[in-house]
Amino acid sequence: MNIDVIWTLISLVLTLFIFSYLFGDNPVFRIATGIFVGAAAGYFAVVIIYQVILPHLVVPLIQGSILALFPLILSGLLLTKLSPRLGRLGNVSMAVLVGSGAAIAIGGAALGTIFGQVRAAIDAFGSQANTSGTSPLLLGVEGLFLLAGTVTALAYFNFGGKEQAGQAPARVAISAWLSGIGKFFIALTFGAIFAGVLTAGLTALVERADFVIRTISTLITG
């Protein structure tokens, strides 16, 4: 039997095992997920070794880079996290990782998201009027609608409230009013996101169903 046929059969069996979940959680489904977790973890480990550790640590060490000793020591300390007794030794390594990660997150949030989205909210008021040919009035209305969505959705995430004697803290009246409108925009956005996820899922369902039907018909007809 051709090796490709064997792989295709494995693929078919695993697909059917996963689809068995539609009848509830069962051992066959767990067999497929067990194989998936193990294979994915193994492949991920290999990718880390080949794409990160070899080029960024081992090759510089072989080339005699003294700077590469720091990540070597820090990585060694990080491995102590596997032991409950020695785990504290890895705190400095985690601090380097978390410190640089936090700085990257701050930079990304500020430069990538906050500045970018504020700029886009301003641009919605008609900077494209000359290029798109849309009337400035229409762009202004659209910009206002988008701005209202942005401000009220943000207001919804403000959970601060005034302390009241004998009562639970409540939002300030203006905040409560804005967050009420914000709820509408958030529901609308989540609806759109949910529709996108459903569309992607249905596309995957059609692709898998097509694969199962084609493979079985090929096996039957030879």
């Binding site: 973890a41 880390i48 936090a102 996101i193």
Partner: protein, 206 residues
């Protein structure tokens, strides 16, 4: 016990990386670039530690303790070692190793996504039954509406100017809310990042 050394290291490393975003001075970049390289190596090692913990700390432990579900742990461990050993010897780009991705990972991921679509559709109907408030109804109507828009059934509208404008406007409807949510997430990330850098939160301490 809180470690002041780790907090100091996190602050110094974070400050150098953060300042490097705004001040592109050569001496600063000369320090920042190797630090980012170290962070990449450490992130890789952290990934390996997580995988080793999954295999040895969870599944091999389950096998040793002979728990009722040890059979599935055997599957995880065996498939891990087969792929790992083959991958280390042959390399991740070898066609035989790539077959693991093509014929095991991709079909299972796609099938899980397909099952998710059915589960989500069922869950959303249940959600509407239980949450019969206006927010639930807006969510449900928006879902149906964007399913129709995403399906491409309205593609004929490109020939009708009024309909084309309406479909284009419909795509803009969720943008305001999405922008608000994105800004909320970014402000949350900013606050959390600053709290970590100043040592108010110390997730690196055991």
């Amino acid at each position: 016990m809180k470690s002041p050394v780790a907090a100091f290291v996190a602050f110094v490393i974070g400050a150098i990386v953060l300042v490097g975003y705004f001040i592109p001075a050569a001496p600063l970049q000369a320090i920042r670039t190797p630090i980012l390289d170290w962070a990449i190596v450490l992130a890789g090692f952290a990934g390996l530690v997580a995988i080793l913990n999954l295999i040895f700390g969870v599944h091999i432990k389950r096998i040793r303790e002979k728990t009722p579900r040890q059979g599935f742990s055997w599957l995880v461990v065996i498939s891990f070692f087969v792929v790992f050993i083959a991958g280390v010897i042959l390399g991740p780009t070898n066609p035989n190793v790539q077959n693991v991705v093509t014929y095991i990972q991709f079909p299972i991921e796609a099938s899980l996504m397909a099952v998710l679509a059915i589960t989500l559709a069922y869950a959303s109907l249940k959600f509407l039954q239980r949450q019969r408030n206006w927010m639930g109804i807006v969510f449900f109507v928006a879902t149906l509406f964007f399913l129709v828009v995403n399906s491409g059934i309205l593609s004929f509208s490109s020939n009708i100017p009024v309909l084309r404008t309406l479909v284009s406007a419909a795509h803009q409807l969720p943008v305001g809310g999405a922008r608000g949510i994105l800004l909320g997430i970014a402000l949350g990330s900013l606050a959390t990042g600053i709290r970590i850098l100043i040592g108010a939160d110390r997730p690196y301490n055991n």
